[in-house]
């Protein structure tokens, strides 16, 4: 035990001192916070503020439209009403050219009783926001006018035109936002994906480093390979936990400030399950990575075997679709029990909607059993592999290693 502690301690203290660790620990929350902050800022300033002109012969729908577009719910546009005259389009075209106008609307209507046609010329056809604001505004104005003509009172029209709002209410009766909870689930999924892969690979890299520097020979003269492997996995894992811990604290601090604005919050339950599944997922993937590291002699060779780590993670990503459409379907329940996927997918389900307690317990039990099985195999590969230099072993050779005493 003492040796495992020494190895883990060295691994931990050497790693958290590296520049890479410090940069990643500070940079990710900064970027995350910056991103959320920027998104919130953009969302609040996304009202269309274009400058358009309305060309018309009749004053009526134009004035209402001007009012609607200048002080509507989602628009703060500047609207000029220009009486129709020959050659007006040319004048307006010139104004658009000199960027004074963002577009103009021509209303063709000879008498109030006649059906009107509307032609909108935007400066840029890519300016969807302005076009759709004009369209929605027109629809609103024309509907109001029609209702008024049929004798409806102003208050009736307001009631009729009032948009229906649906509040998404969570279990505790709190108002939630389904968009935000998806966002949180996604963020946690990719964070998990990233840290499990990154720290799994770190274990493999650290083994290769010791192998290429030949320090193994010295270490193995006093301690058992299994102690070395255990110490390494614990040490690197502790670094990962430290990093995730720092990120979680940063996220909590962010949620307290910007989160309220954007509606993105990570609950304590989500954070706890994230850490539990991170530890399990990391232990599983790093055990596999340890075997890969012991089999290879260089980073380049490791890259070729990377897919053994990537494939299950990639499969998890493919499964996101079915999980989102129905997180309690049979398919979702089955894939989230596969030990190599459970850390990502069960955690994703937890972030979306809490699965049955027995499902969580079963997935944790399955992962634990798999970890022990994988550790048994990889510690054997590790024990022999770390003393083998030179040629990359083939599969029959690796299978023979399992039998060595």
């Amino acid at each position: 035990m003492h040796n495992i502690w020494l190895i883990a301690k060295r691994e931990y203290t050497e790693r958290i001192r590296t520049k890479g660790f410090i940069i990643a620990t500070v940079l990710i929350p900064t970027l995350m916070g910056g991103g959320i902050f920027a998104a919130t800022m953009l969302a609040s300033h996304s009202k269309t503020a274009s400058h358009i002109a309305i060309v018309t012969t009749q004053p009526q729908p134009a004035t209402d439209l001007k009012h609607e577009l200048e002080s509507g719910k989602d628009t703060t546009m500047t609207v000029d009403i220009v009486p129709s005259s020959p050659g007006i389009s040319a004048t307006l075209d010139r104004q658009m050219e000199s960027k004074q106008l963002d577009g103009y609307l021509v209303i063709h209507q000879d008498s109030p009783s006649q059906q009107a046609t509307y032609d909108f010329t935007p400066r840029s056809s890519a300016d969807i926001a302005t076009s759709s604001a004009v369209k929605e505004g027109l629809h609103d104005v024309v509907a109001r006018e029609y209702l008024a003509q049929r004798g409806a009172s102003a208050s009736d029209i307001d009631t009729f035109m009032h948009p229906v709002e649906v509040n998404i209410v969570g279990k505790g009766g709190k108002k939630g936002d389904s968009r935000a909870s998806f966002l949180v689930a996604y963020i946690l999924f990719f964070l998990m994906y990233m840290v499990v892969l990154m720290y799994g690979m770190n274990v493999a890299r650290s083994i290769i480093e010791e192998k290429t520097s030949r320090i193994f020979e010295v270490l193995l003269a006093t301690i058992k390979p299994s102690e070395l492997l255990a110490g390494k996995i614990i040490g690197v894992g502790a670094v990962g936990l430290t990093q995730v811990g720092v990120w979680m604290i940063a996220a909590a601090a962010l949620a307290a400030r910007a989160g309220a604005m954007s509606g993105v919050t990570i609950s304590a339950t989500q954070a706890i399950f994230f850490i539990v599944y991170f530890v399990l997922g990391y232990a599983l993937y790093s055990s596999v990575a340890a075997a890969l590291g012991a089999m290879t002699n260089s980073e380049q060779e490791l890259q070729q075997l990377n897919m053994f780590l990537m494939m299950p993670l990639f499969f998890c990503m493919l499964m996101l679709g079915p999980l989102i459409s129905n997180s309690n379907s049979t398919l979702s329940r089955i894939v989230s029990q596969i030990p190599f996927c459970a850390p990502l997918l069960m955690n994703f389900r937890i972030s979306l909607s809490m699965p049955q307690p027995w499902e969580i317990a079963l997935s944790i039990a399955l992962i634990l059993v798999t970890i022990f099985a994988v550790l048994w195999v990889s510690s054997r590969i590790y024990r022999v592999g770390i003393l083998m230099y030179g040629k990359k072993p083939n599969l029959p050779e690796i299978l023979r290693w399992l039998k060595y005493s």
């Binding site: 590296t18 480093e209 520097s213 010295v218 003269a221 006093t222």
Partner: protein, 310 residues
């Protein structure tokens, strides 16, 4: 009580026999040379001695007891493939390795500083390993193997890559440790070092023991039939009938005789011919000659020569 006792150990990797029926004993207070061509099973034998691998059959005893991992705290090992953590500071590294050998941090720190002073590398203490020269790194590993004051010191090629000054420093240290009663096992290809330092040797080739015993015993088995003559002038004495073969390096002749008795006749003949003799020495074969002869024989006539250093 012998420090190391290997009884008939055998190790096979797949189809390759690494070590076959090796038996050897190392006594305390001796310097033991483990010799053999490359790939002969030296490193495999050492690895079994310190439990890195387990022999397929045979027994390993350390300090008079069957092998157990806790005995490893009394063993210091300098592997042939040198390795240190590149990014770690020298002192941290030494303390870490000392702790792995069962020292507490304070003792490990104190001994590291003392040893660095003794090995004349105090300026390296605060540096990272990757900033140091190869020779310095080797000295640090040398220290790491000795920090816990082991009773058995195993060194694989300890002097390779060192300049003569540093090699001598290490040699003197090893001699001092032997005087303290430690047993030292080292393997090397440098036969002159072995002749100078070792009390006993074992020569292995292709996993088998070819000869072993004290240096005196081994040498006495061979006749004193080597002759070295430093001369000037006439060299017709080299064609004397008692000479098996000779090499003449412009005035220094190395001669192999049929028997020791013929040496005096050759000297008489040379003087009679008017050759000026500066030095005339009858010798045992050198360890190098014994090494080459035995290893060649072990590979058999068919493969002789080429495979020796392969």
């Amino acid at each position: 009580m012998p420090i190391v006792e290997l009884q008939n150990i055998r190790k096979v990797y797949d189809t390759k026999v690494a070590v076959e029926g090796l038996t050897l004993t190392i006594e305390p207070g001796t310097m033991f040379g483990l010799l053999g061509p490359n790939g002969s099973g030296k490193t495999s034998s050492i690895r079994m001695m310190i439990g890195m691998t387990v022999p397929d059959s045979g027994s390993v005893q350390l300090f008079g007891k069957p092998f157990a991992r806790n005995l490893l705290h009394r063993v210091g090992y300098l592997p042939e493939e040198r390795g240190l953590y590149k990014k770690m500071k020298v002192l941290d590294q030494l303390i870490f390795l000392g702790q792995l050998h069962g020292l507490d941090e304070a003792t490990a720190r104190k001994r590291s500083l003392d040893w660095c002073e003794r090995m004349e590398i105090t300026e390296a203490i605060e540096k990272k390993t990757e900033e140091l020269s190869k020779g310095m790194q080797q000295k640090i590993q040398f220290i790491a193997a000795l920090l816990h004051e082991p009773d058995l010191i195993i060194m694989d090629e300890p002097f390779s890559g060192l300049d003569p000054v540093n090699a001598e420093l290490l040699m003197d240290t090893l001699v001092a440790l032997r005087a303290e009663g430690k047993a030292i096992l080292f393997s090397t290809h440098r036969m002159d070092q072995v002749e100078k330092l070792c009390d006993s040797i074992a020569l292995i080739s292709r996993g088998r023991l070819l000869l072993s015993g004290s240096m005196r015993e081994i040498k006495s088995k061979y006749p004193r039939n080597r002759l070295q003559v430093v001369f000037s002038g006439d060299d017709t004495f080299l064609r004397h009938a008692g000479i098996v073969e000779f090499k003449n390096y412009s005035g220094i002749a190395e001669i192999q005789l049929h028997s020791e008795a013929e040496a005096q006749q050759i000297l008489a003949e040379a003087i009679a011919n008017g050759t000026h003799i500066n030095r005339f020495e009858v010798m045992e074969p050198t360890l190098e000659e014994i090494f080459i002869e035995n290893v060649r024989a072990s590979f058999g006539d068919a493969e002789a020569g080429g495979r020796v250093d392969a």
